[in-house]
């Protein structure tokens, strides 16, 4: 009977209950060292419909071109299924923008074949609604 009751749970790994929205608009900044062929991905929650801006503000070594992407948490490399990507140098103007609706998203950097064996330090800001 216990086995039957447990089997009745029918859990689905791909389904999650979305908690009550507690997210607020803001800017998340994160820094990570990215290895060759690696990724540096950050998850964030958008509280409403609006524009997301992703800015690669710093790299070390300087002038390292990296890929920037935004998408939803998923099963691809880095745990993010990317919707849009660009190649970018560090700067103060957002290199990647997207309109989102409320929910969970991910954004970050990935190596496009330019990261040295010692890795690259990246700082990324994500402004979201």
């Amino acid at each position: 009977m216990l086995a039957l009751a447990a089997a009745g749970c029918g859990s689905d790994n791909t389904s999650t209950t979305t908690p009550s929205p507690t997210a607020t608009a803001g800017t998340d900044t994160f820094t990570a060292t990215m290895a060759p062929r690696g990724t540096a991905i950050h998850q964030f929650t958008a509280s409403a419909v609006g524009a997301v801006s992703v800015t690669l503000t710093f790299t070390n070594p300087p002038s390292t071109v990296v890929g920037l992407g935004i998408g939803i948490p998923g099963g691809n490399i880095g745990g993010c299924d990317l919707t849009k990507t660009v190649q970018a140098l560090a700067g103060s103007t957002a290199q990647l923008t997207a309109t989102v609706e409320g929910g969970q998203y991910c954004a970050g950097a990935f190596d496009v074949g330019t990261v040295p064996s010692s890795g690259v330090l990246v700082t990324i800001s994500v402004a979201h609604p």
Binding site: D12, T14, T16, T18, G75
Partner: protein, 152 residues
Amino acid sequence: MTARRQLRRLAACALAAAVATTLAACGGSSDSAATTTPSAVLGPQTELFEGTLAVGGSAFYSFTVQEKSDATVMLASVATSTAPGTSTNTVIGMGIGSPLGTECVEATAVLAFPALQSPLVSNLTPGIYCVRAYDVGNLKSSVNFAIRIVHS
């Protein structure tokens, strides 16, 4: 009451308690002190439908709606491989409907390109539904896709 009858009643109570505990675990709460209320509002469920779409192919995913509400369907990603930087803007077909045998019979469908907004919204009553993704003739090779479904 005989000792045998008392023993039988004790065993029945223990089994009932164990079953109740097991069923309560289906709710997903990790707080063992919390009580389970069967009529609790479930809130939105987020499901991720990931797969590979072949040239001329289709795929579908079934899910259960427990409360009348809008379901939103977002084509979040189409990529030529699972590696980052391979995202494309390829338009594919995406529909919502009801499973019938091994098929998904669409009630509503759209042409969708990857974006972080839901082009497909459908008001659903409790029941089993499906989302179908299909090539509309744009694919030159197979692609990986990710679709987010939010429903109650």
